[in-house]
């Protein structure tokens, strides 16, 4: 199996281009998988073939598509600009759902719908950036440590043990308290600092497994350089598990941002964040639950979309876990 997986990097490109799946393939679960003999049936084309047929993936992709549009072009969804304070009217505070205010108004008389729509951007920026940063930092360090072993591996692995022992929300709270102002970038920094050891550990384990495979021995016997072996042979085969964990973590980062903003150390007003909206609506929650429940609903749907995506990607990339 491993030798057919080796040139997977090339087949990522192919897999994206090729529209046709494997001919004659029956539905999942009916027959055991045929041995992967042809080059076209790499892990990636197989995974993509699999993904496109999963209701879970389609549902999450649609939801994420809507959310991304909302993050990029919030004015498509609402004509009210919530960053403009003159749109809020204190006389109309805590109104119920109506034609003028779809989600009602909050304690300051601002339109909850417009604020909720505009809140999508910060959540998604934090989630995506923190995911990319942790996958890159943890992934690269894990690749280096797993491949070279020795002193670097020992030092890095001890450091990650320390990070694992520190509770992440409390750690993020402390890091954010160091900065006088909280914004998207400090939140991303705090989350990434605490989360990279997880991707490191997963990448390192995958690299150590891949390192002893025959195709790596063969590449080394052919005289391939260390960077070439690392990036052309080992990385494409070890990256799947990191992608899976990164996708699942994305939802967690979005939830963490909301939590930290709720606690008052994440984003601060006038920035708009779902966590901040929940925090602001908290005091009058029992008489006017709307301003709290609507951002909460969007937050939950966003996390749900990314976790569903993570589940679908894991099922497609790691058939063993089914």
């Amino acid at each position: 199996m491993s030798d057919t997986l080796a040139p997977a990097a090339k087949q990522v490109r192919r897999g994206r281009r090729g529209k046709h799946g494997r001919p004659g393939r029956l539905r999942r679960g009916r027959v055991p998988r045929a041995p992967r003999s042809s080059r076209a049936a790499s892990l990636w084309t197989d995974a993509w073939y699999d993904l496109r047929r999963r209701p879970l993936f389609i549902a999450s992709a649609v939801l994420i598509g809507v959310l991304l549009t909302m993050a990029l072009f919030p004015s498509l969804f609402t004509s009210v600009n919530p960053y403009d304070a003159t749109t809020c009217q204190l006389a109309q505070a805590r109104q119920g759902v109506s034609g003028a205010h779809w989600f009602g108004t909050d304690n300051l008389g601002c339109d909850v719908y417009a604020r909720t729509v505009h809140g999508a951007r910060n959540s998604i920026v934090v989630g995506l950036t923190a995911t990319v940063v942790t996958a890159l930092v943890g992934g690269l360090l894990g690749l280096l440590a797993g491949f070279t072993g020795g002193g670097l591996d020992t030092v890095l692995s001890r450091i990650t043990e320390i990070f694992f022992a520190i509770p992440s929300i409390l750690g993020a709270l402390l890091i954010l308290a160091v900065f006088r102002t909280g914004n998207v970038w400090t939140v991303i920094l705090a989350l990434s600092v605490l989360a990279w050891p997880m991707t490191y550990r997963i990448m390192r384990a995958a690299v150590i497994t891949a390192k002893s495979q025959d195709y790596v021995v063969a590449a080394r016997a052919l005289g391939a350089s260390a960077p070439r072996i690392m990036f052309r042979h080992i990385l494409p085969n070890a990256v799947a598990s990191v992608i899976v964990v990164a996708t699942i973590n994305l939802g967690g980062f979005i939830a963490a941002e909301a939590g930290l903003s709720f606690l008052g150390v994440g984003l601060r007003s006038p920035d708009i964040s779902w966590g901040l909206m929940i925090s602001d609506a908290r005091e009058r929650f029992l008489e006017a639950p709307g301003p709290l429940l609507f951002p909460a609903l969007f937050l939950s749907l966003t996390v749900l979309a990314f976790i569903m995506l993570g589940d679908a990607v894991r099922d497609a990339l790691d058939p063993k876990l089914r």
Partner: protein, 312 residues
């Protein structure tokens, strides 16, 4: 066994040192002056400030300060706050609340998670199984922030208004009942993960040869599932539960804020703003110790659950 425990404890020392150093450094970098924070808006006699700074080693370089703290710590002394209160006194009451909350959450997690997982595994591939899986997906996706407020509104307030006074809305005044609702909220995500873990691990074991043999011997279903399958499925579950104790205690701050429970999360929050480094580092040190000990206990439990595993 004894030697194994000692070796594990020695291995834990660098983790403990690294974690305390890291936290100490972060608190050191916090903006503001602790003595000024102590006095609030009032102007303080410069002589008093000088004495206090000397007493708490605030004029020393960072590493010297850390060394003072560390030597005290290994003598079992967590230090005092800038107001002179021993940190252990502050922590004792706060940890009591958080431990109560985390243990309530852990018990709920174990009972509901394993129960649901067992139910799903025994109906593997059927509609009930899919329903449990869908429920876990939803439970994983809803942040504590949302479940906390929604359940507080529905079960704490609306149910009370309807005349059923089961769950206190907030605070710890009503004994163990105060922890039921926050415990469930805190456990939410973990319940879902444990359900999936139980289901997957049991479903795999139920397909093995020795289970078929047990059924073929004519053993009752209860005995096959309980003694043969569940016991072998326990190892990953115990690992998860053990690691989760530390996660629950460290992650309790949002739940504590929603339900107004005076636990370590809230204490840490106020101590950070007062720059009480001894309290902040003390709390994190105890959490790291709990994490290390919980993992050790889990590793030792393996030998109990599976007699094939032995420690030299």
């Amino acid at each position: 066994m004894g030697r194994y425990i000692i070796r594990r404890l020695i291995q834990a020392i660098p983790v403990l040192l690294g974690a305390t150093l890291l936290i100490y450094a972060i608190v050191f970098a916090l903006p503001g002056d602790p003595i000024a924070a102590l006095a609030g808006e009032k102007r303080v006699n410069p002589n008093v400030v000088a004495v206090l700074r000397e007493q708490y080693h605030l004029n020393d370089p960072f590493l010297v300060q850390y060394w003072h703290y560390l030597t005290g710590l290994f003598g079992g002394d967590f230090g005092t706050t800038f107001a002179g209160v021993p940190v252990t006194d502050i922590m004792a009451g706060k940890f009591q609340v958080t431990v109560n909350l985390a243990v309530t959450a852990l018990v709920m997690e174990a009972v509901i998670g394993v129960g649901l997982g067992l139910y799903a595994a025994l109906r593997h591939g059927r509609a009930q199984d899919s329903m449990v899986l869908a429920a876990t997906l939803v439970l994983i996706s809803i942040p504590v922030l949302v479940t906390g407020f929604v359940l507080q509104l529905l079960l704490g307030v609306r149910l009370r208004q309807a005349g059923i006074d089961l769950f206190p809305v907030a605070g710890v005044a009503e004994g163990w009942r105060s922890y039921l609702l926050p415990g469930f909220v805190l456990a939410g995500t973990s319940i879902a993960y444990l359900t999936r873990l139980t289901r997957n691990s049991l479903a795999e074991i139920l397909r093995t040869d020795y289970i078929r043999t047990a059924v073929a011997k004519g053993l009752s279903r209860r005995r096959v599932v309980g003694r043969h399958a569940l016991r072998n499925a326990l190892i990953p579950l115990v690992t998860y539960l053990g690691a989760d104790l530390g996660v629950l205690m460290g992650g309790a701050v949002i739940t504590e804020t929603i339900f107004n429970l005076p636990g370590i999360g809230q204490q840490l929050f106020s101590s950070v703003y007062l720059r009480e480094q001894s309290v902040v580092v003390g709390i994190v040190t105890v959490l790291v110790l709990i994490y290390i000990l919980a993992n050790l206990v889990v590793d030792l439990l393996y030998a109990v659950l599976d007699p094939r595993i032995r420690y030299e």
